[in-house]
């Protein structure tokens, strides 16, 4: 900051009343964040699956992936959660698959880390996101507290499909990012 600007701002700011930092704003308490996450995600236009066990998740995946010709997969997704599909660059793949770092129940949000690669989160028209039950938190401040010690270059908070109402006020999906977002809950994974 130039000394001149700093001095101008300092002189101005000191004249203003400082109410101090506020204590946290009150939030509703969610007894069942897992169910809440699913509900909110669906409200936002996403899809939500909660297979009973790993085998069911795998069976669901194979059936789901049959509708696609190609995929791009984040390096964080273990082999057990990769379907048998041809891989393609994110620019061409029909399906992107990733693993969320955290999810936020109150807003139906999946938090994606840029270290898994960003393009697979954004460029394919369909995005499948795995989320471990242990990584679901109730609200956004709690999520940010957990994220703060280890911030990547970019975190993406995805709460549903890409949408716009800029054309005559009519909602359209898949404007730039994925038009279809599928989130699947899984049991804790073994560390890679």
């Amino acid at each position: 900051m130039t000394g001149d600007l700093r001095e101008r701002i300092r002189r101005a700011a000191v004249e203003l009343e400082d109410p101090g930092l506020p204590p946290p704003a009150p939030r509703p308490v969610y007894t069942d964040p897992l169910t809440r996450l699913g509900e909110r995600l669906v409200t936002n236009g996403g899809e939500w699956h909660r297979p009973p066990d790993q085998a069911a998740a795998r069976a669901w995946l194979d059936e789901f992936a049959a509708g696609f010709a190609s995929m791009t997969v984040s390096k964080n997704v273990p082999a057990s959660l990769r379907p048998a599909l041809a891989t393609a660059p994110p620019e061409q793949a029909e399906l992107g698959i990733g693993l969320a770092r955290l999810a936020v129940a109150e807003s139906g949000t999946l938090i994606l880390d840029s270290r898994e690669g960003r393009k697979s989160q954004l460029l394919p028209p369909t995005h499948l996101i795995w989320i471990e039950a242990a990584n679901i938190v109730a609200d956004l401040p709690a999520a940010l507290e957990r994220l703060a010690p280890d911030l990547p270059a970019a975190l993406g908070f995805h709460s549903g499909p890409s949408r716009s109402a800029d054309l005559g006020g009519i909602t359209v999906l898949g404007v730039h990012g994925p038009g279809r977002v599928i989130v699947v809950l899984i049991a804790p994974l073994e560390p890679l």
């Binding site: 704003a25 936002n44 940010l144």
Partner: protein, 451 residues
Amino acid sequence: MNIEPIDYRTAAARLLAERPDIREAITRATLAKEDRRREGYADIDSEAWRDWASRLRRHVLANLDYYLEQAGRALEANGIRVHWAEDAQATCATVLSLCHERGVRRVVKGKSMLSEEIELNPALEAAGIEVTETDLGEYLIQLAGERPSHIIGPAYHKPLSESQALFAERLGTPAGAEPSALAAAARKHLRQRFLAADMMITGANAIAADTGTIALVENEGNIRIGTTTARIHVACVGIEKLVPRLTDLGTLLPLLSRAATGQRLGNYVSLISGPRGAEPEGPDEVHVIFVDNGRSRLLADPPAASTLACIRCGACLNACPVFRQTGGHPYQWAYSGPIGAVLAPGLLGLERGWTLAQASTLCGACDAACPVRIPLSGLLRLWRERAAQAGLEAPGEAPAIRAYARLARRPHRFHMATRLLGRFAPWFGPLVPPLSRWLRGRTLPLRNRNR
């Protein structure tokens, strides 16, 4: 130097006479968003959240020098280059020199009102750089050669038929194509622009001073994509847009989203804390340009400084019954509605901006909507007062008020005058302003009619 004030009235009157379809589109969009905001406020303790946000933002303003220094250090520590720009010209010059030094030919942009304020696009285009707006509404506006008419929805004023015609002409979509088909055509076209872009330019919804993190909220994913594919990301940010802590975003961004569109959170949030470094994808360089452009002067004006608490949600525009008739174009600069009307004299100067403070009934709908409790109607009144002190008023207003006050000090004459006025106004009204202006479109009551 003689500065022409913004003539909202003439522009508004023309729009109402010539473009009733724009009025319809704006009314429909703003009423819908106003309903959504109410729903969004309804499932939180919105009063407490608004108190929280109001206090947070005022605390930041009262310590702005401290948080700017802290943010500057934290951003740099993250490998983000920080620049400071005094005004619009300096900001554009900074962007241009980055472009020249790094051989940038193609720029994509995320929606940024600050870039409208500093008129960045014309500056880049004049230097031969291709600029593509990527927010769908903003892209539409760029194709049409217009300016955004709303902080959040740049194309709220555009009837669908106009968008269809524009896309047919520019992107070759079939006449009368469905919105989904138009969006698909835009997606295809803009995807190529993203992949070919050298630089992505965005604003910022906030910067967390403690971690040096840039927060961007959107619904389409264009900002996420642009800040992934371009090799350089430049964020132009007003100096006031800080929050002390990353965790503050956990309440501020949901409140912003609720106020703007009723969403619990915008569908995409980017928290950017550096260039890609060793990561597989993302920009090699990230730059933040902190822009003053009149803000420090407004900060030094305690009665009006709370204007800088604004988080640009557009809720006051949606709530404003005046804005609802005309949209933002008659305000004739980047910011419109109540916040635009109090920012105009603050940032553009009283002589240019005072007229916008008249474009309000002081109904207070904006005060009730603002998520950070900016006392908008009080500020509108403040600027009216300052305008009056500077001799800037609607023609004949000061003498009229003086004459009225003189009369009101003499009760006997006052009661006589009301009686005469009430009885005869309908007859002589057409000849005498301001009654003649009242009679444009309205009748005067007949005093003796027994109601």
